[in-house]
Subunit: 145 residues, 2 copies
DNA sequence: TTAAATGCAAACTATTTGCACGTAA
DNA sequence: TTACGTGCAAATAGTTTGCATTTAA
């Protein structure tokens, strides 16, 4: 489960901001909650329209913008030109397989002890994330150069 | 200075791979060496064509691809839809100002002691980078919410 | 001399926008 | 009922590609 939230949270968050709960917005959020692979817009679109068409691409973009504004979704930027989305909005780190591109969430506690006071004077940190590049557990990837 | 390299290095690197040294490739690399603000393609283009037109946009893209292939340049992905470039190819971290967008290089040694053995079993790290978000030293930014 | 690089324009991909129609509250 | 959201198509932005011309070695 990529988040501590559930689809119930979307109602509270959206309504408190005067935003409507629509089938499309619910579907996008539910899809992100259900999967842990940080999908792209294209992947979300394919997935939620698999059985019956429920949303257009422009609506997915719109839904993701709104979900980010209310703090239910974050974007993940690891590859050039590819924006991915994550329903896990708690601070955490990312492992990125250099062979297959898989992205694995790493618990915050794994690297929660960074000494931010070592930053150059004048810079004030509000948060951080560690991005680890390497090879994931798949045999193909372990084998790859 | 964002790198330990100089424009002399481009000759060695390129020639050893049978690639040509052109005024355009030199200009792109020299520009990246001269500035520390991780420019976009657009910004590089504007800068090197300021006095007299020397390069087209397609050539900048081509030059950056080659420079990355020979290991003289790295891309920096911190904002959605924006690819920036860096002639500092040594491992280092990035501080990103949430107010003005400034990107500050942080020495590797500042956070060089991460315990990578704490990663989930099966994942093999080959490198990492810490991305710190916060406010930079500019008074405007310190002031901002 | 000649294979490789440049510059332009067209093609492509990702994302945003305008607007008529539909719908959640 | 009605302001907000959706879907479509067109617009925009970033990047890549094809090809004739130029040039580094």
């Amino acid at each position: 489960m990529p988040s501590n939230y559930t689809t119930k949270d979307i109602r509270k968050r959206m309504q408190s901001q005067g935003l409507r709960i629509t089938p499309q917005r619910l579907a996008v959020y539910a899809n992100l909650l259900a999967r842990s692979d940080h999908p792209t817009v294209e992947e979300i679109l394919t997935d939620i329209n698999r059985d019956l068409p429920i949303s257009s691409k422009a609506t997915i973009y719109s839904a993701l913008t709104v979900l980010r504004e209310v703090g239910l979704v974050k974007e993940v930027l690891l590859e050039e030109g590819v924006t991915r989305y994550d329903a896990n909005v708690q601070p955490h780190h990312h492992f990125c397989c250099q062979n297959c591109g898989a992205i694995v969430d790493i618990n915050w506690e794994t690297f929660s002890n960074l000494q931010l006071d070592r930053l150059p004077p004048g810079l004030h940190a509000e948060g951080y994330e560690v991005i680890i590049k390497g090879k994931c557990e798949r045999p193909d990837c372990q084998m790859a150069s």
